[in-house]
């Protein structure tokens, strides 16, 4: 059964975004890739963006700081503080985008569950307010805009498939 690679994104309530993704690797490797700067620099960021600065002080109360460079020299800075570190199962940290820093921090909880050598990553992002959550979603929307959005026909196709007898 091959259902790695499918990313599920949902909103929950007013302030949460929940992402789920399966990786074909044991969770100690996934944990390492999520917390090691040299490795983060190799995967973190949407198409066309590179993580140019990455500082990780991996201990409770330790700070992290990412700076990504995108097309047209745009930058995106993020930072936060680690709240909980349970290798290789769970990590919790605060996160604020430089652009939205005044609005407060989101609380990110990532859990890694391993079964048969594969890891299910669940990332729950709790925003300080619905406005910030929606702004974060909108930022993603903007960064993803280079790629075509699903057309209405696709949405309806999915709806029709879901409701087919």
């Amino acid at each position: 059964m091959k259902n790695t690679g499918t990313l599920k994104v949902e909103t929950r309530g007013d302030r949460e975004i929940v992402m789920t993704r399966i990786f074909d690797a044991p969770r100690d490797l996934v944990f390492k890739a999520l917390t090691t700067p040299a490795l983060l620099k190799r995967w973190f960021g949407p198409h066309g963006w590179t993580l140019t600065e990455c500082e990780v002080d991996l201990r409770v109360g330790g700070a992290w700081r990412f700076l990504s460079k995108g097309p047209d020299g745009r930058t995106m800075g993020m930072r936060g503080v680690y709240r909980e570190i349970v290798p290789p199962a769970r990590i919790q940290y605060t996160e604020s985008f430089d652009e939205w820093a005044a609005q407060g921090s989101a609380l990110i909880t990532t859990t890694l569950e391993e079964r048969d050598g594969r890891t299910t990553l669940t990332c729950i992002s709790l925003a300080p307010s619905r406005e910030v959550r929606d702004a974060v979603l909108a930022t993603g929307m903007e960064h993803g805009a280079a790629e075509t959005y699903d057309r209405l026909a696709d949405v309806l196709h999915t709806l029709a498939e879901k409701t087919a007898p």
């Binding site: 790695t4 993704r21 949407p46 619905r130 406005e131 929307m141």
Partner: protein, 117 residues
């Protein structure tokens, strides 16, 4: 309604299987409330309740025919809702695809050692 309220209304409306079925039916063309109710084991008032939720979310409207008052689908909120999470998903999809490659690479060394032994 602001954008955020609109999206809430859209997602709430889409959360129900009966309402998704109604939308799928309306995607094929304008339909009277009677005809919409037919495939469902539900009273017409129950269907009307669902239609009201869809209407409030702006997902459907009432067609021109004053007598039949057929319902028809409205494209815009669906487009907005699909673009909304889709953009965010693409943001992360790109990252996670690179992470897949990296993880494969991280898994490789022990295998190679085994083979050379």
């Amino acid at each position: 309604m602001n954008r955020s309220d609109r999206l809430d209304a859209t997602f709430t409306a889409l959360a129900d299987p009966t309402r998704r079925a109604i939308l799928a039916r309306l995607a094929l063309g304008e339909t009277s409330v009677n005809d919409l109710a037919k495939p469902f084991a539900m009273s017409q008032p129950a269907i009307s309740k669902h239609l009201k939720v869809l209407e409030r979310a702006g997902l459907i409207s009432i067609g021109q025919d004053a007598q039949r008052r057929p319902r028809r689908i409205e494209a815009k909120p669906l487009e907005e809702a699909s673009g909304w999470l889709d953009g965010y998903r693409k943001f992360w999809e790109a990252s996670y695809e690179r992470l897949d490659v990296l993880l494969d690479e991280l898994k490789a060394p022990p295998k190679r050692r085994k083979r050379t032994r």
